[in-house]
């Protein structure tokens, strides 16, 4: 029997996450025509049902409340699923959830591990080879994962989402008794939508519009939010903006904020300090708008506009609303 590839899935509220769809696509490629794809979720029957449309042959299901979904609990359940499905590879989207589980699962299941992976191939001798950006995207490394088992967190947006396939997977219940006793005392006591942000959360977004000190005032920053809304994008900010209290720290992109790698990153009134660049340089396409033609941000951007954000951003919002038929 060809070992299967197991997808550790995230499907909050029964909606399969983008990174999980990408993981299914990679799993199908790695399994090949002779192998099979399986999935594991800790989100209960609704989550499992949602996963069925991505064609796994088997789905392992546990039902644990999100308030006590710790990486230790998930790793224990996923290790059991990996064993029962006789998998050789576990794939997970590289979200906060996914990245937290990988190290634990690798130890528990006796596997090699890698995170932030943008390419996975199998060598002629059957070993897994991964490519991943390092040093904030300033370099890439290629690693060989040794041994028969591997756990891999895929970098969000690096792969295409899998198409939906009609199927009737076999469902298997996971026994919660594998969860270590000291994992059940941790509690998520609250969950709020990321403050100040309308639209998708920053780490997840395919498009990010970020503003910097060049916006001049907290009030002007709403121009960034208008542009983001027209694109269905997430809002980001430089540290100058969060330090000034114009917007909350949860929006900060960079070394001491979030790292993002969207399809499109638009930097407005941001100079391009190295601490900001490490958080966004692996974005696929970068646009910079800045009054200073020598701003370092133009060195990493694909498209640049030298000019005043206060007039350019509203014009851009208007144009995008026009082409999207919104106005």
């Amino acid at each position: 029997m060809t070992p299967s590839v197991l997808v550790l899935a995230e499907s909050p509220a029964g909606a399969v996450s983008g990174p999980t769809k990408e993981a299914f696509g990679v799993a199908r490629t790695l399994a090949g025509p002779d192998g099979s794809v399986a999935a594991v979720t800790t989100g209960g029957p609704a989550a499992a049902q949602a996963l069925a449309s991505f064609g796994p042959r088997d789905i392992w299901v546990a039902d644990i409340p999100t308030e006590s979904t710790t990486s230790g609990a998930v790793a224990a359940l996923a290790a059991r699923a990996a064993q029962e499905s006789a998998s050789a590879i576990v794939l997970v989207g590289g979200t906060t959830f996914g990245r937290d589980v990988v190290g634990r699962l690798a130890v528990r299941w006796g596997a090699a591990a890698a995170t932030g992976v943008t390419e996975v191939t199998r060598t002629d001798s059957g070993e897994l080879r991964v490519r991943r950006p390092v040093f904030g995207g300033r370099a890439t490394e290629t690693r060989t994962l040794l041994g028969p088992r591997a756990v891999i967190a895929l970098r969000p947006h690096a792969f295409g989402a899998a198409s939906e396939i009609v199927g009737t997977p076999a469902m298997h219940l996971l026994d919660r008794s594998v969860i270590p006793a000291n994992e059940v005392a941790a509690r998520r006591v609250s969950l709020a939508s990321a403050d100040g942000a309308s639209g998708p959360p920053l780490p997840d977004a395919t498009i990010v519009v970020s503003g910097g000190r060049g916006l001049r005032t907290a009030a002007n920053f709403s121009l960034i939010e208008d542009l983001a809304r027209s694109l269905g994008a997430a809002v980001g900010a430089s540290r100058a903006v969060t330090d000034a209290g114009w917007r909350p720290p949860s929006l900060q992109v960079g070394q001491t904020g979030r790292a993002v790698s969207p399809q499109l990153y638009i930097a407005v009134g941001i100079s391009g300090a190295i601490q900001h660049l490490v958080g966004m340089i692996s974005s696929r396409t970068i646009v910079a708008i800045n009054t200073d033609p020598s701003a370092p941000i133009f060195k990493v951007a694909d498209y640049g506009i030298v000019g005043d954000a206060l007039t350019l951003v509203p014009a851009l919002t208007q144009e995008i609303r026009k082409v999207r038929g919104l106005s």
């Binding site: 909050p12 490394e141 690693r143 509690r187 033609p293 498209y303």
Partner: protein
Amino acid sequence: MNIVVLIKPIPEAESRLRASSDGRQLDPEGIRFVLAGYDESAVEQALLLKENAPGSKVHAVSFGPVRCEEALRAAIALGADNATWVEAPPEGSDDPILAARSLAAALTSAPHDLILGGKHAGDDEEGLVPSAIAELLGIPSFGSVADLRPAGNPGGISFARVTEAGVEKWEVPLPCVIGLQQAWNDPRTAKLPNILKSRKAPIEKIDWSKTLAALAADSQPRSVSERFALPAPRTGAKMIEFKTPEEAAEKLVRLLREEAKVFP
């Protein structure tokens, strides 16, 4: 509270990166490896917690080659109470799972209520070590953590983190492992007398032979680097010429749709 801080020395931010002659990894020649990035925040956070709970101790621990000593001395100069260098195998290894196993072996006998690391190291960005250590020690772990506080009931902590779901707040009993996103403050800088004193501070060394004996069958790396590559430098932006903001907007949107194809 006994606080352990995990440290990995990484190249200074301004370093020029180059591949080694065999092309497999970063060429360390001429690069200064320092305490920086998220690890520096982890040290800061550990010191803040210690200042809040008198009687606490901060123990800095680092796995790797001899250059760990300098980063550990930097932590001592900032205020860490003691330091341990866990020696890497002489042939070297950059496998995070082996690093975690070696560190966990050293930590089993060291008091630890809270183990703090950066959410990932600024060089390899794997972020595997804290959570792998937690699994080996059989305690909970959380990454991307900010606003870490002693919790209401003794023996616990609370923290916030921004995830894909939103802003989460957690209350967690100790012991546990934390991968830190951000400390309350920007990292402090060490005072000169403390830097001078740290040069003579004792650093406990755990020889590789001792780790090897403790790990037995698990002493092999699970991954090896094959290639280290610097991307072709971005050639600089295509600049958009325009007379009115409307013209700039129209040109940019056309390029994004037709050339970059990132926009429907």
